[in-house]
Symmetry: C2
Subunit: 405 residues, 2 copies
């Protein structure tokens, strides 16, 4: 697998995109984008598990039933969530306008929104915006689309890789936004992945489902699952490899590349969590089951006390033991080892669930870095899991405690 | 039911107590207490669900099997958690020394600790401390015991009530500590309730189990469940009411009084959550089941985004909808009403899951108060639940991000 630098979704054959400012955001930044496949593509999606689903998600649940998908229309600045029947109508209208402009059926268009909850969509700027954007679609604009879904993300999040299937170059490229917040309720995780691989809708859906559970579902910024979270993958088959419709060797190669793309995007989201000063990776080893490994790793990365300790560069391993203990994951409570690791060194703090005397200076050196790897060995079984997150800083509280004006 | 002001556990007939400074805390504050029943009492306990259980909890699981209990020895300043085999030995030693000094069997003594995780117990000060404290036991010292379990709690937490059973005055008195933190890992919820009611061990245990699930289990400060959480109830039967050994009318009266004591102590803990500037009460109405009601209420009170918004006096109802949605509780997502309430007024922000235009000035007035009631009406069924918590402030991060020195 090759990683292609400085490329975007429009470097995958058959895909076009564009991002523009249509007027949803008051600061003049891009707030609307269209992602388009010239050839009918198959789509798979993972939508938020939140019971309160934003209007676009309700539309996509229907449109996913279509055999083919050719476009995704995405806006930032307004989540179109908790907006009632008119909000649902607006989301459908976004699909309709896009379909009309591109000569598609509405069912071939997916809709995505991120922004404030509970505010009606400014359709008077969105409708002309969609029409204008569809006119501007081309094959060199992927980054402008990635830019248009950013809210307070501090950097662009996109990645492109290439694999070879049946001697055909196959590319997978994705872009995402993380949960930055300036305006209340703008937290949402959105990710869009496209590929020219020739793969059936059902296999793409299988691959995405598994991939999401090990990537986006293993990050936490603040434990609050958005009403708008969405990952969509499009495969247009222009790569001419023999269609992947069973779990064969090509499927495995494709899945590995897809996992890489999703995991890298997920890590970028965790790194850019609001107020984050540190990127934390939890490597959980030797659990009895995959489920136990994931529960334990996710619990540690989600703990406010662990996150606060890392913000304070505090070698506070007791909080890690505590978070493991309430994770719901099964493990032997008397045999846990805990280490902190990065390029400053490796430090063991806990052996068999009891504290070891440790070098406080080395601990401080490791914890003062912007990346820290918490390595946990349960010594119970063979299953491992990795989770990613960030620390809990004053800035997080400041950003999210701002009075809405 | 009468609420008795300025009384403590030693105002319940047959109970003695004392709190002293034995030297675990370096600041000279009280750090050890003994609670003693002159007559063999029956005990019930609720212990942390954390898989990583501190040594005293492992001892109590055994000692709870004893038909009678007469003493509880409690220290603050060291949690005796993640201290291995020697920690377990130290906890047993604390029970043995107490039993010896009071002429009891070790099985009649419960042990409780709160403080830093992973540090060996300073038995050289604890052993003489226990002996000295047992000498000083008397019937006017309840408040000194309550003081001795405080860590960074900003106020003493105790309450006493009286009911009449079979024309006999029956008292229930309890004291508790909340999760204040100055030194890393000192967060723990401890609560001790004594009564002179004549009640069987099994009925006391039934009553406590139910009572805990609606009181202590419905508060959240930071979502981190301690390794040391413990609630113990002792009933010594000196009130001379006919023994309560079935769910009769006396049981109901006793249970109501016990619920009141536990709920008030739980609310005091939430009010005193670390860094808290606001006490938040979530009243969840008309869920389909009690479980759904509790899951929804607990999810809202535990959300970092909701807590941050309240710190910032931000009428951010979208985060409340979001937290309801990922709570795991079932509800109709399109019929939720949300109100903010306190002595400044009542403000409806959401009707049928959609935002209402609201008076931002009134919202600010309500949210600037130190108490805010979030009222949520699911309009699904007849079940209600209440949860209590606090806001998420800079101070929380500051307290918990402090480097350990």
């Amino acid at each position: 697998m090759k990683i292609l630098e400085n490329m975007s979704v429009t470097d995958v054959s058959g895909f076009q995109a564009v991002g523009i400012h249509c007027g949803i955001k008051k600061n003049g930044k891009k707030d609307l984008c269209i992602l388009y496949s010239k050839k009918p593509a198959v789509a798979a999606a993972a939508l938020t598990t939140n019971t309160v689903k934003a209007a676009p998600l309700q539309v996509n649940i229907e449109h996913l039933k279509s055999d083919t998908t050719q476009a995704i229309v995405i806006n930032s600045g307004n989540a179109n969530a908790c907006t009632g029947a008119s909000g649902l109508q607006d989301a459908k209208e976004m699909a309709n306008i896009t379909a009309e402009a591109l000569g598609l059926s509405p069912q071939q268009v997916m809709v995505s929104s991120t922004g404030i909850i509970g505010v009606p969509m400014p359709m008077h700027v969105i409708i002309p915006g969609i029409k204008a954007a569809c006119e501007m679609l081309d094959s060199g604009n992927g980054s402008s689309a990635a830019e248009a879904i950013m809210t307070t993300d501090s950097f662009l999040k996109q990645i492109t890789v290439e694999i070879t299937l049946d001697n055909q170059p196959v590319r997978i490229s994705g872009f995402a936004k993380g949960s930055g917040m300036v305006h209340p309720n703008m937290a949402t995780m959105l990710s869009f992945v496209v590929t020219n691989a020739n793969i059936s809708k059902s296999m793409l859906s299988t691959a995405l489902k598994e991939s999401v559970s090990d990537s986006y579902n293993m990050i936490s910024v603040d434990g609050d699952t958005s009403t708008n979270d969405m990952v969509i993958a499009l495969a247009n088959g222009t790569a001419k490899n023999t269609i992947i419709d069973v779990e064969n060797e090509n499927y495995t190669l494709f899945k590995q590349a897809l996992d890489y793309v999703n995991t890298e995007l997920a890590k970028l989201i965790a790194k850019d969590g609001e107020g984050a000063t540190k990127f934390i990776e939890v490597s959980l080893h030797n659990a009895c089951t995959k489920k136990d490994a994931k529960l334990c790793a996710k619990s540690v990365i989600s703990s406010n006390l662990v996150k606060s300790a890392f913000f304070g560069a505090d070698a506070n391993w007791g909080r890690i033991m505590c978070a493991l203990g309430y994770s719901g994951g099964a493990f032997s409570p008397d045999s846990v080892d805990v280490f902190f690791k990065n390029d400053k060194g490796t430090l063991q703090l806990v052996q068999d669930s009891a504290g070891l005397p440790f070098d406080e200076d080395l601990a401080k050196k490791i914890l003062d870095e912007s990346y820290v790897n918490i390595v946990i060995n349960l010594k119970d079984g063979q299953y491992s899991a990795t989770a990613w997150g960030c620390d809990l800083s004053y800035e997080y509280v400041k950003i999210n405690g701002a009075y809405r004006t």
